[in-house]
Symmetry: D2
Subunit: 490 residues, 4 copies
């Protein structure tokens, strides 16, 4: 691993020159810009953990390609143990950053592309896997951060890629050259994009034969010519931009992952960086495997966040004098219960994982979908409970400027106290932490990250093996099994 | 009504000189300061409606004290019809402002103090009601805005007012003079305080005899000497402070009510403005009636907000091409269902209202508590559904500065489009509206405004008439009713 | 009112001779047969209350047709007050019987047919309302019980009445004669049918012109030639059939309403008893008004049942020694909260009721649908909470035969005791009451009675005024309102 | 394994002579009595599976004591793989029986006693484990069914064992003899008791030193002198007693496990069958480990039942013509989602299992508690959804006697049809299956089996590691960690 810790990671970012905009202005150094630095620090934690002995087993792995020790975030899962270690690593990172640390999308993209490239090669005699391995070995050896770029802008959602008024609403090949292709389009909501080294482009949906130009998987350096990134706006980002220390809630880290638009305005990709090109029949598998891996993660990282939130309200209740209330304990119990329910599915879909033909392990897809579906409910409920326990002051608290003010600082100090002897500032800080972790952007991410709820429901229904369950019911009810032909789910 | 419309209201505010701070700086004109102006505009809508023929019946009433037409927000309810008209008025205002319009707290305070003052006078031979009527007539005639000030800072929640290390954690009389009293303490989360004319101070909890100095009800002009207001911070206020036009979501109105700390640093109150002074036995009734009226309102104004949110996601779904999806329709149905369930309780507790001994009508307290309890659940669920339908872009959207930027504006324009022919700006605006209405502060207000959930549960249990229900069950089970003495709820 | 009390009602039933089957055998006297008698007693309570001074105001009304005092269950609502009194009456009856008392279906049928007949007459110059009034005056004067018969057998639910393989799956006219019509088909789930005097037949769905033979509204005596009733099976009916006294839970009343199939095997109906005949355009209104009235009721009668259940678990907790547990209190609080939330909608849809052109009052249809929708959720949750508080013994308790047994009675007596001094039999009886009120049939009724959940959701969506809400949202987001043509709900 | 299949198991039961009562009468042969035979058949399935090649790997294990192949239900878990195979076995059995197959309680008792006996021996120099192994080897070799007997009758729940008015409300030693002890008391809700060979008695709660006589763990043959069993009553048992074939829903199996009171009226237990005797300090661990194992199971067996229910409503929707409705698909999706969420926790708590000092593996206790807690919610919700999809006819359907009746059978045949060509009887049977699986007793079992919900909540709170989480929150909020002494969970 060339990049051995957070500092080296940051240094490496400074050597890149991506074209990034935020609030209408260019961002020249993501490691220092107040809007992006908190997210860089969160990603840096993935590098930092690998350097700490107590986390080394979780945070690193041995490459099956090279035998060298690599960051787990660049590893292709070789066993159930790998899948479970990943889950535990993500929970630790969620606990340490209280936010998204962004490396999963690339990680999951790597795993999805690896297994699918193998299958395409088997079917078509292509050499995608070999190309991919070469690229991946470099990523592993240099310990680069990769943003997995899947979600297209989509335009009119009632229409497919090839039916859009503007054909660029899904990333596509606009020119084919002997040495590569030129792509155009945009990927939205790209977590960690501005502080990644590479983009791994993948289609966002299963495609049919008519949409061959949209069936493109490839890798592009983040600062390739033609790429522009626009860093999105988040709840509370203005406070960060002002370099506030208390009201941001989490002084070192962002509210959530830090998303960007990645616009590809005619970007050239050489052949050796192309891992799928027109084989539409495999896009469904690719999307589905990526989604499954990614959905599996949410019960781990978000549980880490909920651990933080549970600790925050517990501490706040202690210093406000409400911790012994039976209803407070019951709500804290519920927060833990929901968190651990989510975690269960992440562990379970890993424990039930299985190898794909390539040897790369895939999680149990049903349980991974179930996991993410619950995140879209339980994280909201956990946040609601946290707000309930915290009390109304997190919505009406004067700013840190008032706290520091000569004119009114004494009023804030006096009237936002809690249990005698606890510094007022602690109550305010913990209140701001809860505000940051339960507000808008953070919650939206739990809803739509790794796919919107309906996407999971479609998969849950499809994988529900209803014909088999109909048989069970008929057997118990004493009904003959004769009409197999009709036992479809519909 | 001296103040006949929004403009006159704003003008009247400019004539006052309250001491207000926000972000460490004094605010000299609340009607123009970017942080407070949106809230002033929302309150102004309560004045504006009274001037419009189609809302006149809801927005005004005939004073039972003077026979003159007054703003309903200064009226003492004289009938069930009054209670129901109030509910309908609040829903209209919620729909027109999409936020808190702040006049309910004073309105409910007036109604609670009126009925309790009558009963104190009956019991103690005092003349509180007469004093109160004189004050109220002036409020009605001038159509002043009153902030009902109840919630104390509370310090250590495990201790009562008189047990605090700092005795000022609940507002109290620190000096008694022949011509009045001097009060000290602070009221927190005071909705509409910075743009009110008067403060109506009330105790925050039922007090026992040992806490006589805390049993004080009185009215104080907002700019009385010794009063300092600190305007609290909200999610998204920085965008308003920057005078952004799109990213604020609701360009004209605030995210929620605009709360302030009201610090009373030894404020003198003359006798004629004192409406309760030491009669601790009546504080329970006062708090409870205020709470009941206030809780009743939440099923009306919040339903108005949910109407807006329902409209917003419906429109967004239309212009994104998702409106025909069965799961989208089902989620919209659920949003309506939950909204109307809330509204039911507001209507029902009004329809089941009854006169107090003073003649002022009180809502059914059980149903009012039920109403607010559901707000603490359903508004969150409605927001969650809105976020689900809206899609992830509301959390990752580039800023309006990017949209306007020469460098990257074309990318935002191109890739945030939806259904062909709809201006991209409309999609962005409606997305920002949803972001503003589902984010942090707005939701916290629904949780804790009018009392935290546990406050309602305590009342619901107490008013549950369990002994009566035990009798019903025993009758049906064929168990004799003999042991009346033991049929307590515990 | 010819039938002045429960005894007279029962006597009147003995004078009828309907053809009834239960468990394959004919039932000759429904007032004495163990399967039907509990249901007859529940219906008799509607007669008994009218005779008691304290309930007279709720249980009776003054006929707008005759000026005579009649049972409210035969009344056409003339005011909001009527609608609200009905709701209160139903809750009382739910509390006194702990079950369905069956008269609502006829009551709601009367109200729906009355207002629609007026409108048909206006449109077509028919005299349906006059015929109906004549029939209704007799019902009122004699205080007869009417079963409103709407739900058809429906066959293949994917097809309409006229598309069925068997055209009789919806009740239809099979022969038209000068003096009347002959009808065939069956109405299912007919609550109270076996102990009604009359059947009021109505179509079950909005019909189009092709289905004219299905557009028939008429009244038929319960013992008319060609009618056969088959009394359905319920959870726990075997215990009643064995005349058990403890294990039935509610010794005097049934688990739920007592439903029957009413088969019409070519039943003749004379013209004066026909109130709609082929006017398909009005079937939608008829079904919808009936449904709205009926759905409004569920928040009243079921709340009465939940009151009983709340009392039952409270008492059980007291005698088991668990009543002081904070989690028990919290669950009881939740039971009350959910009950009163339901009740809110029943009150609210009545308070917001309005006159139809006929003068008959109709509830607010949105709020009535909301009401029933919540019943399909909250009654289940209330039952779940009751089961939680009650403890596992309600599922494993030995029978009353064991309790009475010489061999093992002492074991049951010893080991099912609770708090010292409470007769074991009381704990068992209350346990059996809870078992009866939370088990299968009772819950299914709350799900599907007055229409299955999806039926309400369709109406809630339709009545959601989405175009209006879209306007609100656009106004607040600063979007021009120009494209009215596209602001449809889809 | 002496008992190699279901037939041999049944034969072995006929050789025993336990004293059993049901409905006041003795039961001489549990394998043939209509009330008990369905439960015997469900337990027999655990024997039958071991004989089938495709289930052999799940249904058997290799004894770590003897190296011989044994039924997994008599095995002491030696690995995570063992824990996971158990989960998979239970789901298969739930799917094949649609009910409780009863062998888990003994299985879990064996595992709990084994690991605790080791620790008691280590602490006290006793030889409990050796005694237990001898007993267990016999159980394994003969493949006996053991009922784990934990739940005492408890009397007044506000008091502990030693504080009861009647000291026998918890099973206790009433006489100590050189060769053993005499015990008295009763165990309630004993699943599978009447068709077990042995009873494994365990205390029901953590005991303190004053309660030494209650700290008794021992094994007793089911037909030991002094033991009386009273078989409890279930919803629908009368239909089974009448040997009905359709209306029972599941003709071959019971609604739920078949519970009995086991009364110990001074039963002698020889020393070699005593595995704990007075060492109160270990009772907490014993109860907790038993509970953890048992709670882990519920996400497996109940998921099996929900699979059946999901299949049943799917089939019913198909033959009623509703399967293509989007709301039906969505509800089926939700049923699957909830089922798999439960299953996740069973898998996860197994995958996260760990060895106890004895070498026996224990599940992750937090996740096991979470699992059961969700069963108390989700099984109810799944049942509610099933009832929703099924339609109201499952509550009003005429009996099978009517179906067979010459008089009215044709009416049932005609009017309970669905999609053309499907035998009516199939629709009725599947309806009855749903009725049986969603009714009273079955649901109560999911609530209280393996401990009532509050029992899980207490453990979830205790194991929530709140101090650790407070540290995380403080770190992120920038609060120093100094006050370790106060970071308690309360």
């Amino acid at each position: 691993m060339q990049l051995k810790n957070g500092a080296e990671y940051m240094e490496s970012l400074r050597r890149l020159h991506p074209r990034i905009y935020y609030k209408g202005e260019p961002v020249s150094d993501v490691t220092r810009h107040p809007a992006t630095a908190p997210h860089v620090r969160a990603a840096a934690m993935t590098y930092a953990l690998a350097a700490k002995p107590q986390y080394r087993d979780l945070a690193t792995a041995v490459s099956h390609l090279t035998g060298r020790t690599i960051s787990r975030f660049t590893h292709v899962h070789q066993s159930i143990e790998d899948l479970i270690k990943k889950i535990k690593l993500l929970r630790v990172l969620g606990r340490k950053t209280g936010t998204c640390f962004q490396r999963c999308v690339g990680f999951d993209g790597i795993n999805a592309v690896y297994s699918v490239a193998y299958e395409v090669d088997q079917a078509h005699g292509t050499d995608y896997l070999e190309r991919f391995k070469q690229w991946l070995i470099a990523i592993q050896d240099e310990n680069k951060m990769v943003v997995g770029a899947m979600t297209d802008s989509k335009g009119d959602r009632a229409k497919g890629p090839a039916q859009q008024a503007d054909p660029d609403q899904y990333v596509r090949v606009v020119q084919r050259r002997p040495d590569g292709v030129v792509i155009r389009g945009a990927k939205l909501h790209m977590t960690g994009a501005v502080n990644s080294h590479e983009v791994l482009v993948m289609p966002t949906t299963a495609l049919d034969e008519s949409a061959g130009d949209y069936a493109i998987v490839c890798a592009v350096p983040i600062d390739a010519p033609g790429i522009t990134l626009i860093f999105g706006r988040q709840a509370g980002d203005d406070r960060r931009d002002q370099l506030e220390r208390i009201d941001v809630g989490k002084p070192r880290f962002g509210a959530v992952g830090g998303e960007a638009v990645i616009a590809f305005e005619d970007v050239f990709v050489p052949n050796e960086r192309i891992f799928l090109n027109g084989e539409t029949a495999f896009t469904g598998s690719l999307v589905y495997r990526f989604a499954a891996h990614h959905r599996a993660n949410y019960g781990a990282c978000k549980t880490g966040l909920m651990d933080v939130l549970t600790g925050a309200v517990t501490y706040l209740a202690q210093i406000q004098g409400t911790a012994k209330g039976s209803h407070v304990r019951d709500k804290v119990t519920e927060m833990i219960h929901l968190s651990e329910t989510l975690y269960s599915s992440s562990i379970a879909c890993s424990a039930e994982g299985a190898p794909t033909p390539s040897g790369a392990y895939l999680v149990d897809t049903m349980l991974a979908n179930v996991c993410k579906q619950n995140v879209t409910r339980f994280h909201f409920e956990v946040a609601r409970l946290a707000v309930d326990i915290a009390g109304g002051f997190i919505a009406t608290l004067p700013s840190e400027y008032d706290l520091e003010s000569e004119a009114v600082g004494h009023i804030v100090e006096k009237y936002f106290s809690g249990v005698s002897g606890i510094p007022v500032r602690e109550r305010i800080k913990i209140g701001r932490l809860i505000e940051a972790m339960t507000g808008g952007t953070a919650m939206v991410e739990s809803m739509h990250g790794a796919g919107s709820p309906q996407a999971q429901r479609i998969m849950i229904f499809r994988e529900g093996r209803l014909a088999e369950k109909v048989k069970l019911a008929k057997a118990l009810a004493g009904i003959p099994q004769r009409r197999q032909g009709k036992q479809k789910s519909d």
